[in-house]
Assembly symmetry: C2
Homo-oligomer: 155 residues x 2
């Protein structure tokens, strides 16, 4: 099972996002966990590889299960662990191999093109201190079929 760890880095009311070349969708930096890694080590390593920055004290805010379905059959399942921090060291890469890095104002985040389920995640984590858990069901061409967040709204 694939597992992904990523991090929302907030600075001066902006979050650092990565515009992925394939669909032009925005994500926060992160990537696949390696064998034997724990989720915090993964997110620190992946964030550094994609941005040049070393995030400090990231805290886990969201734990999600994703399912991709085709003709009612699950064809893929993966997990995503989303951290949050406001602290980092280092200099931002001018060019990332993974896409285009951009500081996006918090109020503009939801206007960016992105996977539909990610809007729920950003909306929740940017509005609330508490942890959130969720399940998202997608088609193989990344149309969101179903989602279930717990709690269902930011409190």
């Amino acid at each position: 099972m694939q597992r992904v760890a990523n991090c929302i880095l907030l600075k001066d009311n902006h979050i650092l996002m990565l515009k992925k070349p394939r669909r032009g969708w925005y994500v926060v930096p992160g990537g696949k966990m390696e064998a034997g890694e724990n989720i915090k080590d993964s997110v620190v390593r992946e964030f550094n590889e994609e941005t040049g920055l070393r995030i400090k004290d990231p805290e886990l805010k969201g734990s999600f299960t994703f399912i991709m379905k085709e003709d009612d059959q699950t064809v893929q399942e993966w997990m995503m662990f989303t951290f949050y921090t406001t602290d980092y060291q280092g200099e931002l890469l001018e060019v990332s191999e993974e896409g285009q890095l951009e500081w996006v104002a918090v109020e503009d985040v939801l206007t960016k093109p992105m996977a539909e389920g990610d809007r729920y995640i950003f909306n929740h984590i940017l509005a609330s201190e508490e942890q959130v858990y969720g399940t998202f069901v997608y088609t193989t061409d990344f149309q969101l079929i179903d989602q279930d967040l717990d709690p269902s709204r930011p409190m």
Copy 2:
């Protein structure tokens, strides 16, 4: 990859533990995540199946990666998500299929026989509000070879 979700339920300075028949080791109730489940749904379902109780508002406190090694080769890897709560509904099962249920005083928890790495986990989560992340390396006969907790001590 196998994923396990479990929960420390604290009530009147006792936590609910399960003594597993195979080795006589103590664990907190929980079990394997099912396909498509998120970690919170898993822990609520598993805790209920093993104890008859319905935990309320469990909060994720620990996320761990376990590796089992034989002759320096990784033969198994799994993840464990440990929640914490003080609130529940329902009546405790008199007999659980999974082992013997027992309310253990917090100060006695670490004196019980258990997987060596679990002592680090209980020690941390019972002493601290913050989340903890970790990696544990075991032999195939469950001797702890290495552990790395982050933060390394409860703060």
